[in-house]
């Protein structure tokens, strides 16, 4: 969005200065320390390490944005050689951005131990268009070996400061030093947000007078994927920028989006967003009259969502704004996600519903900072509706999520309700609905050492959503995933689902099954961890960098009854146990009892709080370790 707003940069005198990196070696000149380095202490065993990553942004004589980038890294393992394959994406639509002055050099040692410097040749640099917006520069650095030091630099020329991108100090491999220097024309005001871990220092040199700022961080470990992690970006160390206004020639100050309300007011006037909401679409009178007649309002919302889903095709682009007017989208019957949801809001508003566009950032896109109305942090537009005293968040491109649930991909995030009067940032939580699974199983031991049983699983709310979606997409894999995979050798004798399409009722799954009984000498072993979905402990890493987001609250209850043969008894029953996380944010319980030849095991896992900070990981990891140890216990039967 910034790209569209910043075309009014006024003449100024700042240019790129070359004052900053005096201590860094010249391009292509490598130090002894770099040559002999075999790893870094802050991330042992890394495949490669970024020695430094330097960015400098300023303007040229035409007052357009120029960003110079210089990266030096060292290959430490065989896999790290792939770091020599470089891809630089850039925004090529309307020639907005261009990448020039690409240079590269590799330091290696040959088979005789002699140093070899190999330069990247211009002919080996490829420029290709990816789609109508993005192009890519690609090149493979030459003579990359384990131990090589790779260095490359380039310049990105942008039509204006709207091309300024956030600066990431961290990536998936460790970084020893990263810095970004920004200077802006004096008439241009900008703000920035630093996202960083408390235990990693940052140096910020803010020269307010001459409109420049420099950020520096050192020794940052790489961040890989972690279980139940949302956007990696949320946990990376980075600084984001936002331009807040400019001075006119007459010296008056024009503010851009300095508050959420102002931002909403601005957005509501824009052709690419709010001005579309009340546009009348052709041949919709009859349709809207039909919608208006639907009562109560909840059913009207559902009807409009279904109409949109069935009649307007999503072209696969996940965008928050429109590329084509809603009239064109309505005519062509297809559009990007922003177009579809704004169209849905348009129809809803026309049908007397209080519907507002809601800018959201999906969990995989990153958290929303609320200090400043930075629109670039949102990646999608949904529709927020107030009706009958309830609030709904609806996505017209989502086939499966019923309107009563907040879409899972935005759960526990924040959304920006865009409206002239009602503008605000809202929390997208679901206090009402959880992932609810109840499993009832009865096992019987047959004479031929088989375990036969019947199970009924009742899945409600978010559990129903997940399972219904999976079932509709692949029934065979559904059965395997939820019922077979936990017990090798388990065979399904019959399987049925009920209430698949009744959104108000839980999804019921009925199975009867048989499985070989585990014999251990004179003992027979009965596993208790069946149909729980808790097969593998996901929390195996010693350390954790990111927040754990389970998405929603969860209630898992399993009741297992083992009908024992007359001649068998338990050697000893597993203990009844309860595990708590602090403040009972998570509770696991196991009770075991024997009554008239029937062993009853009740397992329950309640996740009362879906989000945990990385600092809580140690306790959570221990909780899971103990829980899995309890789940792995088996009932040992012996002869009477």
């Amino acid at each position: 969005m910034i790209k569209q707003l910043m075309c009014v940069v006024m003449p100024c005198v700042l240019a790129l200065s070359a004052n900053a990196q005096a201590s860094l070696p010249e391009f292509g000149v490598f130090t002894t320390q770099e040559k002999t380095m075999t790893g870094v202490d802050f991330e042992k065993g890394a495949e490669a390490v970024v020695i430094f990553d330097i960015g400098r942004a300023g303007n040229n004589d035409d007052y357009s944005l120029v960003v110079e980038r210089r990266i030096r890294l060292k290959v430490l393992k065989e896999k790290g050689k792939e770091r020599g394959n470089i891809e630089i994406p850039f925004f090529s639509k309307d020639n907005f951005e261009n990448i020039v002055n690409i240079e590269g050099v590799v330091y290696s040692v040959d088979e005789n131990g002699s140093p070899v410097i190999t330069e990247l040749k211009k002919a080996d640099i490829y420029k290709q268009k990816e789609n109508d917006r993005i192009s890519m520069i690609r090149f493979a650095m030459p003579n990359v070996q384990v131990g090589s030091i790779i260095e490359y630099r380039y310049q990105s020329n942008n039509q204006h400061y709207g091309g300024l991108e956030d600066w990431f100090f961290q990536r998936d491999i460790p970084t020893m030093y990263s810095s970004f220097f920004l200077s802006v024309p004096t008439n241009l005001e900008f703000t920035y947000n630093v996202h960083k871990s408390l235990d990693l220092p940052i140096k910020i040199d803010n020269q307010t007078k001459n409109g420049s700022v420099k950020f520096e961080m050192s020794n940052i470990a790489g961040l890989g994927d972690e279980p139940f992690m949302d956007a990696a970006k949320d946990f990376l160390q980075y600084v984001e920028f936002k331009f807040s206004g400019y001075m006119t020639r007459s010296g008056s100050k024009i503010n851009y989006m300095s508050t959420w309300k102002e931002s909403a007011r601005e957005l509501m006037t824009q052709n690419y967003f709010g001005s579309q909401l009340n546009k009348k679409l052709s041949n919709t009178d009859e349709l809207i009259a039909g919608f208006k007649a639907i009562e109560p309002e909840e059913k009207r919302i559902e009807a409009i969502k279904q109409y949109i889903f069935k009649n307007i095709s999503w072209n696969g682009y996940k965008l928050k704004f429109i590329d084509n007017s809603l009239k064109e989208v309505w005519e062509k019957k297809k559009g990007n996600s922003g177009e579809i949801n704004l169209l849905m809001a348009n129809l809803m508003r026309g049908s007397n519903l209080k519907a507002y566009p809601l800018l959201v950032s999906e969990r995989k896109n990153g958290l929303v900072g609320t200090d400043f109305p930075i629109l670039s942090q949102f990646n999608k537009t949904l529709v927020y509706i107030e009706a009958g005293g309830n609030k709904y968040v609806v996505d017209g491109t989502d086939e499966y999520t019923p309107i009563k649930l907040v879409p899972e991909n935005v759960l526990n995030t924040k959304g920006f309700l865009v409206d002239v009067k009602e503008a605000r940032v809202i929390d997208l939580q679901d206090e009402k609905y959880a992932r609810n699974n109840l499993v009832n199983v009865v096992y019987e031991i047959t004479g031929n050492n088989q375990l036969k049983g019947e199970a009924v699983t009742t899945s409600a709310d978010y559990a129903r959503l997940d399972r219904r979606r999976f079932y509709k997409q692949n029934k065979d894999k559904f059965v395997s995933r939820y019922f077979v995979s936990q017990y090798p050798g388990l065979s399904i004798d019959s399987f049925a689902v009920q209430q698949l399409d009744d959104e108000l009722a839980p999804l019921e799954q009925y199975i009867s099954f048989s499985a070989p009984l585990q014999i251990n000498g004179d003992y027979k072993l009965l596993p208790i961890n069946q149909f729980t979905g808790l097969e593998v402990n996901p929390f195996l890493n010693d350390n954790r960098f990111s927040t754990i987001n389970f998405g929603n609250k969860q209630n898992l209850n399993i009741i297992e009854q083992f009908v024992l043969p007359d001649n068998m008894k338990p050697e000893a029953l597993p203990e009844s146990v309860v595990l708590y996380m602090p403040e009972k944010s998570m509770v696991f319980g196991r009770t075991v009892s024997l009554d008239e030849g029937i062993v009853t095991v009740q397992l329950s896992l309640k996740i009362n709080r879906p989000v945990y900070k990385a600092s809580e990981y140690v306790v959570l990891k221990e909780f899971y370790k103990k829980m899995f140890a309890y789940l792995d216990e088996q009932i040992v039967l012996t002869s009477k």
């Binding site: 003579n143 077979v484 000893a572």
Partner: protein, 637 residues
């Protein structure tokens, strides 16, 4: 008036017989489809017709016209039309129209409604294929979609083939036409169906028409099986002559296609004498050609990296040797040819071999030459043996191909043209994982574990990739990927890689070494890792089942228990030997005081399991999983 009506009908009948497009004979409603075709089908092609008009050895036009009725969301992929193109392949027209269930037109889309994006094969860094993607909307199911497109291809090696039905998709009418100058002519072969073409000659133009009606949907391919052309009724068509970017070739035999490729692999200026000298020095002390091959292959593995850059003829012709030598990278063609010229400098002849890669690929059809190939390996014939080299690998042992390219036909590119030869089939002993474990049990049931691990062949890559990870991730890898019991303390030391694979020493500490307790009995696992991690589905199969590879997983575990502990129950010795699996477990407690010794062997003898044997295989593996789940029951005296 009546007379006129009758006359009109008569004219229509005549038109139908005399060349009216088939498309006008079908309608767009779903209710006229025979029930026999609807059964088990997600979609029915009312009409599926294509015309290949061969203009010359380098140019043909391809026109496709389809009318498809979609019954449900499993057929929704038709609503996204995706066509691939490049600089030699122009998409001249694309139109899609959707209709509702009663045949009323809903929406028409043109090429201008489509978007274009680069194709990403997830392997190449640079290549020039692009996709044109047209998304359409379905009013509601059932609905009908009509698709027309036209391409002009100005360089080719293969010609379009034709699939008559596919999984879940039946066909009312299917027609494939090839028009070709008689002097060029074509070759063709059917798979999974036998349809004879109607062949006619009009002057110098030959016309082939294959036509089929009312074909029921193919069944879905079974998982873990071969990709088999015969699964769907398929017609392959091949040229006798072709021209790709001015490179003229014949395709009347494997020999001629090999000859065309061979020229592309020739390099007039490979190594200078200065560049060749190190190769001579490296191999100076080698006593056999086998040793020379290993030395140079190791040099290749250590110094080169795979980078895919495929542009135009570059998809067939390798980079020059000098380019690879300077850059130290290349794709499969380039690295194979580099290895070939290295061997040449030390007097060893070798041949690039084109191959269809993938662990689920069948050998190509020897009787029908066509370009099935997507990969190149190197064949080094020796008087008593042949060494095969996968030149894109940084870890394979010389001579080991693995399931990616083994046991199928490769087209050797020789000075005498192409020659089909078999690649070798690996044996279980080629893919070995051997562990030797000592477990020291303390009074509380905690354990200290020491293990040595040696692996080769297709098992070695798992550990090779593990080695590339950070220390923290390696610890997780052993539990998550290799099925090791989660430890509290962990240390791994890698020895220098052996000629055939890798060696490691592992130390793991467990606060609780046993799995669970019942009363005063401790239930310990037999091994700290999974020996058999297979979970085949218990389903009927009609197609062969494929293991990843034949292999041997062997472990010895020595439990050292406190002196006041005894074994309450130990699993019995067990051996299962079938056509495909050999499993043997022996447990003894008499080898040394306070010790229990467990020896386990799990062997997959053959990679391909006949469908008739599959149920037995599942039963065997279920039994082995049961045996592996048995515990050592120990107690304090």
């Amino acid at each position: 008036m009546k007379l006129l009506f009758v006359f009109t009908l008569w004219c229509t009948a005549i038109l139908n017989v005399h060349g009216q497009p088939l498309s006008l004979l079908v309608n767009y409603t779903s209710n006229s489809i025979p029930d026999s075709l609807k059964a088990g089908a997600d979609a029915v092609y009312r009409l599926d017709e294509a015309l290949v008009e061969i203009v010359s050895p380098s140019v043909y036009n391809y026109k496709v016209h389809r009318i498809i009725t979609l019954f449900n969301k499993d057929a929704a992929h038709h609503l996204r039309q995706v066509l691939s193109f490049d600089k030699n392949d122009k998409i001249e027209e694309l139109t899609v129209t959707t209709y509702n269930s009663v045949g009323q037109k809903f929406k028409t889309y043109k090429k201008s409604d489509a978007r274009v994006q680069a194709y990403n094969d997830n392997v190449s860094l640079v290549q020039d294929n692009k996709l044109i993607i047209l998304d359409c909307v379905a009013p509601a199911y059932p609905c009908t979609i009509e698709v027309s497109y036209q391409q002009r291809i100005e360089s080719y090696i293969n010609l379009p083939g034709w699939t008559f039905t596919s999984a879940g998709e039946a066909v009312e009418q299917s027609k494939f036409t090839v028009v070709v100058p008689a002097s060029l002519d074509i070759r063709s072969k059917m798979y999974g169906i036998d349809i004879k073409p109607e062949v006619s000659l009009d002057g110098n133009v030959k016309k082939y028409v294959w036509e089929a009606k009312n074909l029921v949907a193919s069944k879905k391919r079974e998982p873990n099986g071969f990709v088999n052309l015969s699964n769907n009724p398929t017609l392959l068509v091949a040229p006798n002559n072709f021209e790709y970017e001015k490179y003229v070739g014949k395709f009347d035999s494997w020999k001629s296609f090999g000859a065309w490729n061979y020229v592309l692999y020739n390099d007039d200026k490979p190594f200078t004498s200065d560049q060749a000298t190190p190769f001579l020095v490296m191999t100076a002390d080698c006593k056999t050609n086998g040793e020379k091959i290993s030395v140079l292959y190791n040099f290749l593995k250590q110094n080169m990296r795979y980078v895919g850059i495929q542009l135009g003829i570059g998809g067939f012709r390798p980079f020059p040797i000098q380019y690879v030598h300077e850059k130290k990278y290349g794709d499969c063609k380039a690295l194979t040819n580099y290895m070939r010229y290295m061997l040449k400098t030390v007097g060893i002849e070798s041949y690039p071999a084109l191959i269809n890669a993938g662990s689920n690929k069948l050998p190509v059809d020897r009787t029908f030459p066509i370009d099935y190939f997507d990969h190149v390996i190197l064949c080094v014939p020796q008087p008593n043996d042949t060494t095969w080299l996968e030149c894109t690998s940084n870890y394979n042992a010389a001579g080991h191909l693995g399931s990616f390219t083994e046991n199928r036909l490769a087209l050797l590119l020789t000075e005498n043209g192409g020659k089909l030869v078999n690649t070798p089939e690996s044996r279980s002993s080629d893919n070995l994982q051997q562990t030797n474990t000592t477990i020291l049990v303390d009074e509380e049931g905690g354990t200290d574990v020491k293990q040595t691990l040696y692996c080769t062949g297709d098992i070695w890559p798992y550990f090779y990739y593990m080695k590339q990870q950070t220390d923290a991730d390696i610890k997780v890898f052993f539990t998550k990927r290799l099925g090791y019991k989660q430890g509290d303390a962990f240390a791994l030391t890698a020895s220098a890689d052996s000629a055939r694979g890798g060696k490691f020493q592992l130390e793991i500490g467990y606060d609780q070494g046993y799995d669970f307790k019942a009363g005063n009995k401790y239930f310990f696992p037999q091994t700290i890792q999974k020996i058999c991690d297979l979970k085949p589905s218990n389903v009927e199969r009609t197609e062969p089942y494929l293991f990843d590879h034949p292999c041997i997983i062997a472990d010895t575990t020595l439990y050292k228990i406190p002196v006041n502990w005894v074994a309450d129950q130990l699993p019995a010795d067990m051996e299962i030997d079938t056509k495909y699996i050999h499993y043997k477990r022996t447990i003894s407690k008499d080898r040394a005081p306070s010790s229990i010794y467990i020896s386990t062997l799990f062997e997959i003898k053959k990679r391909v399991v006949a469908p008739a044997d599959y149920k037995l295989l599942v039963a065997t593996i279920t039994e082995i999983n049961k045996l592996e789940g048995q515990k050592l029951v120990l107690k304090q005296q």
